[in-house]
Amino acid sequence: MSDRARHKRPALEKPEQPEQPEQSERPRPDSSDVAQGGYRVGRRGLLRLLGLGALSAAPLPVLPEVLRAALDIGDPPRPLKKAARAANGRIRQWTMIIDLRSCDGCQSVGKPPQCTLACIEGHFAPEPMEWIEVFEGELPGGGTQFIPTPCQHCQNPPCVNVCPVAATFSTPEGTVLIDQDRCIGCRICMAACPYDRRFFNWGDAPVPPESLLVDYSAEHQVPVRKGTVMKCDFCPDMARTGTLPYCVQGCPQRAIYYGDLEEDIATNGRVVVSASRFLAENDAYRLKEDLGTGPRVYYIPGHGEAVGRDVFTPERQPTEWPWMERVEGAVTWQR
């Protein structure tokens, strides 16, 4: 096995001779092992060792449970309400459908994207977080389109898969939420998200003082917590009370539909559509579908043509955070 074993033998055997009684007491196979070449674990010994090793790993899967019980921490109840149910008793499956034919990046309004602004105001989202961010994508034949991008609320969420402490989790309603009281700030979810939809509280975020009075819930992440990750929460708390998310309300062109796949219904606040029919008849797609993440956010292809946007008019107004001047000495940062 090793050189040490072999060349140790002379040194080993000579002083061993006087200790004859000990030697003779040893079981036969062991002493033959020594005679053959110093230390040897032996097949049976190795198997026993491996077995013990495997056994010692057995309690690992329940270790967190044991620790929680021992430390009397318990699994704190998620700050969540009961899942919303449709009339047939099934759990609602929240969805968002963004009609890009009606999105002109608020060029016609001459303002920064109003969905982003409404979301920022509703959630007191600190600069530079744009939980729904309006990207400007190039069209294959030239010109651009605007793509409002909230968290995609994947059904196979890469971020949930990698989170070490289950701070980010999937809900029965099909949304992906973050518990800022659990998040340890390792940021592996940010590396894992293929849509760049996660934001970190790098410092003491600039937020207005009134936001600090809000009761925190993972469904409504106010107030912010330093050193944790945040993102679009899909506003299920508002949907449950029959209110549309801020971004849907804020869109001046009514391009964003919100609804329930279980009841097969979606609305932009003005018209109500059958979600499946609306998606099928308008060639809906999802972002990076080939990754297999299964987003809950659908897009209807377009470039603002329904609201008269010219594809060759680029650029939107930069996003603004309305309370920046109200917060004294706030630390802000760039993306």
């Binding site: 096995m1 060349h7 994508g137 990698v162 070490p164 289950a166 340890i184 940021r187 630390v331």
Partner: protein, 454 residues
Amino acid sequence: MAALSEWQRRLEETALAPVRRTGLRYWALVAFLLAVIGWGAYAYFIQLRDGLVVTGMRDRISWGLYIATFVFFIGISHAGTLISAILRVSGARWRTPVTRMAEFITVVALVCGASFVIIDMGRPDRLLFVFVYGRWQSPIIWDVLAITTYLTASITYLFVPMIPDLAMFRDRLAGRTSRWRGWLYRVVAIGWQGKPSQRRLLASAIGVLMILIIPIAVSVHTVVSWVFAMTLRVPWNSALFGAFFVAGAIFSGIAILIIVMAILRRVYHLGEYVTEKHFVYLGYLMAAFAAIMIYANISELLTHGYKLEEGVEFHFRQLFLAEFAPLFWFYLLGGLVAPIVIALLPATRNVRGMVVAAILVTFAMWIERFVIVVTGLRVPLMPYEPADYFPTWIEWSLLAAGLALFALLITIFSKVFPIIAVWEVAEEHESMPVVPETVEPAAPEILEPSGGTS
């Protein structure tokens, strides 16, 4: 026989010397390292107070220097495993004088590496959540499990073969050193008397440990790579990543070992035991791993670059032509090609040449880790302008503090514990053919090529 005992006495004296005499230069070094660590502690205090906003990291490049340094330290921790376990298993006899230093490096590097993960956390106050709420599906938890296992195993693997030497310290220093040292050596020598039964036990314990620690070490760096490879980022999307990281880890581990060896050899006058041969053999080994790294880079880059899928073009441009080109070319030429050339040219095949090569490799491998982390995150996921990342003085200070901690722990270790595996070297010496009258029974083994594994 008289010559042999004289030789043995000199060896023990050499091993004891660092413990017996402590010069002013040692205290000056410790003070300097403590100052650097103190500066790092100040930087970390600022980071705790203000948040990670004081670093150069932002949402789009959300990992940076800290994670790169973590990977680097875990990488160099493979020095010990490689030298002592792999070379032990493969029966390379020349390794004995350097094993102890390699095992020191392993333990110390693991401690330093793990601390960089904590430094990188947004909420270090919630560190315990990792154990209390840990999910086995997360690569981070794999990391925690692998690194704690490896740390435990490598401390054991450092300690067990050291027992006879600790007993030697206990006996030779009894009553001639401070009280706490006497107490320490009495405790850690755990009653070693050198009895045959004890020796047999020790030999079989080492035999089991050296086999067990190899899969642990390989798994550790594989799992570290999976923190990256389990995400949907184009440059990290590679099945080769685990093997690539393990090869890089051993590669940088050898380099650090060469550097530490050179320093300790000079400071503690180990020239008789740690000879040019050791540097050259390790240099060969490093060159072999440089070749493996070149091979891994070619397979990795060619399979990505040939097809040039979405995002890869951007990645290749930033690596070879634009922002990261100077760093990446230095890594390829200075870190992978140069060590091979240095090891092959007879003119540079000496201690100095190998140390230069090792320094190049150390820099290059840190840079490689940095480039992997930052370029992987920099490839845009959505239509936005690619972000940039420049570490701030806080991050550089903490890197300096981490390296200082590494050096400090090695320094302190070398003052307290035997830096040379005395009993192993002595045994090696006994079985040498130069003194044939003592080793007559071992004669057949000498046919085995002793340094052939290089």
